[in-house]
Amino acid sequence: MSTVKPLTDAEATAVIKESITRIVPDADFSLVRPDDRFRDVLELDSLDFLSLVELLSERTGVRIDEEDYPELTTLADATRFLVGRSMGAAGSAP
Amino acid sequence: MSTTRTRPNRQAAHRLALLESMLRVRRFEERCVELYSAARIRGFMHLYIGEEAVAVGVNEALTDDDAVVSTYREHGHALARGVPAEAIMAEMFGKATGCSHGRGGSMHLFDAERRFYGGNAIVAGGLPLAAGLALADRMTGRARITCCFFGDGAFAEGEFHETANLAALWQLPVLLVCENNLYAMGTALVRHQAQTDLALRAAGYGMASWAVDGMDVLAVEDAARRAAEGVRAGNGPHFLEMRTYRFRAHSMYDSDRYRDKAEIERWKERDPVEGLARRLREAKELSDKARGALEDRLAAEIDRAVAAAESAPEEPVEDLLKYVTSPVEASPP
């Protein structure tokens, strides 16, 4: 398991957007408001979403279970989730 | 020389047959020399010229049921045994119709049907085989014998002595015929054996052994018959030391530096083929005309063998791996 570094809101949002861009190269974030369901707006199908989970988990070290998927519905939710999870994991590290 | 004139079965026809058989070997091998020189035959080729009386004479003592194990100088043994000249020539041409389907060449002639077990190019390597063939007959109670040819060189090998002991120990029906041509390749007998009386030494294993004039086919036949009789009678192995000489080099060509030319010429005076022919002529059993007709017949036979070998098909390369293991469904006799 890679080490988890606590993320700031800005870092988390950046990671999310970057990851989405790797899946949808021409993703236009000007169309996605923080509380939009970005999966619908950017037309991420289930495979794309799984790729996103992989990327987020890989790049942040945060563990993302299937139960957590609902937390990744909007950019705001996802940011909150990543920040919270990264703090928790880092805090518990020795 | 021989004392066999009084033997009852020495009919003229038989003597003529012996001559024809020896002459076939002689003429066949002379043709082989030409073909080898023309590169039609390749590999090692060891000629029997000068020793024909041994193969032909011994064969007279064998039945079709008996087995023969031979050496790499075995054209004479094979021809005397009845392996067709065509099959031998084709084998030396490496053709599919050869008696070993082109796998053996000059040194490895085989004919299972005639119980001719080769064609063994490891000096003394055939001796244990012969013991085994004889052992099988012994164990199954079959009244047949195995004749094994080998040279004086083999007498220096452990396999000879192991086999002589084993055969005598188990009283195996095997006739051991040592063709003592005085040279193990280029090494003279006196230079490779401490005791050169080979028959005497073989007798030390407790088997009947004696020396024979290997240049006299009638003497050879006579000795072979007596020995084979003893073997068949259950008296265990018999050993015959055939004192003979090869007129040509060990292998196809060698420099013959190890022999005196005068020695070769002396032995040629005792040429087994011409010796018998002379006696038949003197006894008015062979006219010049008959001799000429015989020569013509043999030449035609050999011509046919060469022509057949020339036109025979090659073994296909796709069959390269054939005969390494038996085909799955086949089972040995």
Binding site: - | H101, I122, L135, A136, M139, S326, P332
Partner: protein, 349 residues
């Protein structure tokens, strides 16, 4: 190496019997001698002595001196005689005391047994079975301990077997005798005393196929003969460490069963070849080469070999043990293939 790891030591079915490798071999001989008059056993001290390793004990009494035939110390002559007898229609079983002594008969085995069929253009098959003891582990030093079966496996025309289990000891002889061509059977000296249950329902062994003695997923331990128990013990050790080792028993060293070996490695992607022969030019080398030729793209780690040290087998126990493949060495090699270092504490010796 102890008798505790025998692959046949599975819980016994009602009709299974307790036996030893030696007895299983003897039973196979007895069965063959009873079944076919053409079969006879020949070798040094196979009769009155009962066999150097006791395999033929009691057979003389049942079958008589003609068929349980004591031979003089003339390996070349009696092996050659066996070949001759086979040519003449018999089904000889020739016993050579050890593989080292077989070198005295090498001429007959190579130049005649393996060659006659081919040289004669298919006219002379040689249905002989030659049994001999192989291998080290009993402090017999350098002239009674070598594993030269790999040399024989080099020779086309021969079939080379290495029964490693009770079942194979019991059931390889019949198909070997049914083979029209020469078959060499190598019995590892350390196996004779192995005991276990002989399954009642076992039939003739399929000589064309290797056997997977233990399935696994992470690494294939490919071995035969006396090294099989060591490989199985290694697989146990590895399992304790979470590594699932498959153990492939070659059984037939020639012709090699490429398919079974390859299938195993294609599954596990890693191979350790365990061979008591010397490493250089060994069977292990042959198998490694074939894996490289045929399964290069299946390999997830370099092929490992566990072979004997390149030294004539020494007498002293510690030295001999050090010279031979041992369970720890197999475990370590297997761990290297899966990328795990060996644990600090290993099993002794």
């Amino acid at each position: 190496m102890t008798a505790t790891h025998t692959p046949d030591a599975t819980p016994a079915a009602a009709s299974d019997r307790k036996t030893t490798y030696r007895e299983a071999m003897r039973e196979a001989l007895r069965e063959a001698l009873r079944a076919d008059d053409r079969v006879f056993l020949m070798g040094e001290d196979v009769g009155r002595y009962g066999g150097c390793f006791g395999v033929s004990l009691g057979l003389l009494e049942e079958f008589g001196p003609d068929r349980i035939r004591d031979a003089p110390l003339s390996e070349s002559a009696f092996v050659g005689a066996g070949i001759g007898a086979a040519l003449a229609g018999m089904r000889p079983v020739v016993e050579i005391m050890t593989v080292n002594f077989s070198l005295l008969a090498l001429d007959q085995i190579l130049n005649n047994a393996a060659t006659l069929l081919h040289m004669s253009g298919g006219q002379l098959p040689v249905p002989i079975v030659i049994r001999m003891t192989t291998g080290a582990g009993r402090q017999l030093a350098a002239q009674h301990s070598h594993s030269l079966e790999g040399w024989y496996a080099h020779i086309p025309g021969l079939r080379v077997l290495a029964p490693a289990t009770l079942t194979d000891a019991r059931h390889m002889l019949a198909p070997a005798l049914a083979d029209p061509d020469p078959v060499l059977i190598f019995e590892h000296g350390s196996l004779y005393n192995v005991s276990g249950d002989l399954p009642a329902d076992a039939g003739p062994v399929d000589l064309d196929h290797a056997a997977v003695r233990r399935p696994g997923t992470d690494v294939s331990l490919i071995t035969y003969g006396g090294s099989l128990p060591k490989a199985l013990a290694a697989a146990d050790d590895l399992a304790n460490g979470g590594i699932s080792a498959e153990v492939v028993d070659l059984r037939t060293l020639r012709p090699l069963d490429d398919a079974t070996i390859g299938d195993s490695v294609a599954r596990t992607h890693r191979a350790v070849v365990v061979d008591e022969g010397w490493r250089t030019g060994s069977l292990a080398a042959e198998i490694s080469a074939r894996l490289a030729e045929q399964h290069f793209y299946d390999l997830d780690a370099p092929v490992e070999r566990v072979c004997s040290a390149e030294v004539p087998v020494p007498y002293a126990r510690r030295l001999e043990e050090a010279a031979l493949p041992q369970t720890d060495g197999i475990v370590a090699a297997a761990r290297r293939t899966v990328g795990e270092p060996a644990p600090a504490t290993g099993r002794p010796g």
